[in-house]
Amino acid sequence: MEPLLKVENIKKTYGKSSAAYTALEKVSFVIQEGEFVGIMGPSGAGKSTLLNMLATIDSPTEGKIYMNDTSIHDMKEAALADFRRDNLGFIFQDYNLLDSLTVKENILLPLAIAKIPAKEINIIVTRIAKVFGIEDLLAKYPYQISGGQKQRTAAARALVTEPALILADEPTGALDSKSATDLLESLSNLNENNNSTIMMVTHDAYAASFCRRIIFIKDGTLSTEIYRCDQTRKAFFQEILDILATIGGEVDDVI
């Protein structure tokens, strides 16, 4: 099967030649459709750099990234914007909801931008709100709801266009454990039931344990890669901790 995403030998350096700093080097991997991939690694390992490049907001110094066989960094600025609109969904750590819009309006914003007719928008929004259990909150404003509800709203917004790839950047970073679990379970269900492809950057082993596969990055290069396969989530969690210990990642969430 043709992979959804193919990262080919990318390298990213910042700064001028004399004081250049290499954030990523020789990174290659593929993601198939329907995968739930976690990217882990200590601070400064290059996780966010990688995510930004997949999000097409940053471009690699060398190497190529293909999505459905198209090299995404060879596109023009306007085409890139359209590409993001049609193929990518984002979940941010700090939600990034618009205060001036209701929950419903926040969720439908990507559909409005894609110029979907109003009638269809209503149907789609109701459906996605149910998936995240926020159908009662639709008329509320962001300042009226909790952090967990905000993040679920943000996730609903990311998924409402049914993007080919969902990129989540530390989505549980600002949530308490109950809210985090709710969100992660929703994502996990989506992945299993709708065959959604999700890529999540996290440094939290608990959050990562919901993924089906985890790529570890250290000092800008791929360090190792593990699959959950048939393990229980708990066993997978333990395996992640072990690896983090060997590559020296933070294990702040163990306790």
Binding site: A78, D82, S100
Partner: protein, 639 residues
Amino acid sequence: MTLFSLARKNIARNFSQYFLYIASMVFSIVIYFTFVTLKYSDTIEEKTASSQKLDSLMSGAAVILIFFVAIFIAYSNSFFMKKRKKEVALYALLGVRNRQIGLMLFFENLLLGLVSLVVGIVLGFLCSKGFMTILIHLMGYDVMAPFTFSGSAALNTAIVFLLIFLVTSFQGYRLIYQFKLIDLFHASKKGEAAPKSSIIVAILGVFLIVISYWLAMQDLFTSKVWEKVGFLMTALIILTTVIVGTFLLFHSVTGFVLAVIKKSEKWLWKGLHLMTISQLLYRVRGNARTLTVIAVLSATTVTAGGAVYSLYYNTNDLVKTANPNTFMYQQTDAKSDKQVSTILSGTKYDENIEALSVTFNTKELNSASAFDSSDKRIYTVINEKAYNKLAAVQHKEKLHVNNDNAVILDIGYDKRFSPKYKGKIITTENNNAITFQSFKTQTVLNAGTAGIAVVVSNDQFKALRKDGEALKYRVIGMDQASTGLSKKIAKQLPEEALFSSAPQDFQTSIEGVGSLLFIGSFLGLVFLAATGSIIYFKVLTEAEEDKPQYNMLHKMGVSTKEMRKSIASQVFVIFFVPLVVGLLHSAVALKAFSSLLMMNLAKPVLIWMIAYTVIYGLYYVLAVASYNRIITQNNKTEG
């Protein structure tokens, strides 16, 4: 490291942040210094005969200027301080004593003030020549503006601004004591709800504005309301209702309109419409106060400037109406006539007119509304032939007067106070009766020499000879005449010749109105610049706040073009809704003004409004460009 050097380094390092603040202070100082320089200028004082009047006018304007500049600086100071709350909180968190922080802010502010003062005075000195040239030109003089530095103006400016800076610096000092640490950290963050709009409040707002408009449109002299409530009270009521109404308008009506738009899902849920409208809804209501201030400031500037400019614009017409002939005087003796003739050259026409000064019984002209209700009036009578002769050289229509009838030439005619001439009969002492067939608001004889003139038929003129005193007028028309020539002629004539001169009248009125226009436009410019800057600051603050939102949209796949469009339309509403309201207010005020003066001010007012809108529009373009720059830059760096 001393506090003073810390403050100094602070400024040096964050120069870009400080730049706007310094720029607005320097601007205020330049304006004030220039103005005071003009006030102290010898050149202008020497040239103006009415210098006493001009001087007091300038002093009054200077007070307004101080007041305004103080408010403006206070506003930019608070804007500037808001940006720095976090920094201040950080110092406190790191364990710097409150007193030290306070002193640091105090010195920093004072230092900024001193730097701006020096820069402002230097720039002001350079600008003052330009402004003086404009003033001299507007007042119709032909002298070179000098390039001198006025020590007393510098001293005056320094004292005024040092006082202002001391106050703002003290404000800075107090900042740390005023707030809790937590507030300082969250100063820029706010999650307030968009207030609900109520129809009742919206209707009330519109109602208040309508009332004030209605009151303003009432005729000052004939209206019952003005009479009953009193002049000052009515003016106050108009002012209050219009300001409160404007506030409610912004607070509720715009919100209401936007909320209605928000109901139309089909249109709203397309592209960035949703975002644009919601942001506006959120902003317009939250900023009702600022928008009101801007609308009122714009209205004031346009009204005052428009009124003064209209007067200036109409000066020439007024002088021409009152002086249809370039020169005119009553002939007394042949000797002076001859002397005048030797001075004159290049006249278009030079006529002798026979006239009568007749006292009439004018009881029939009196009415309740008229100001003047004397039973006897003296009119200057000329015959139809003389009128038509002058009308021909002055390019006016010919007139035909029936036998016992007459036409009165009353340039001061006002339908509210003047007699209803048509059909009225006046009689001479010998009971010669004349009926007014019509009246004209134009005359062919200079009003300064002849007063109100009455045209009668040639036969009637003969009959009236025995009722009045015979007069001989000399009327002179020239294409171009200087005040110098006018003065020379005046010297040759005795007082009782009642010499009237168009160039001299023009010079006198233009001196008064010209300085008024200068002061008006000067203050207008200041108000405009300040208004523009206030919105500009506001828009930039919003741009800073909106960074993450636009970054999210960027990631969501919204193109830069679409974002620019949304930004431009949001800023457009913030800029132009108050402008339109302000222009509407001033249009009503100027309409009232023009009907009070019985003048058609449409053209000069329109010119003035367009000029204002154009300069204001430049601020809009600048604001949108800065907004876009902030957002695009953030999208690039944030990734």
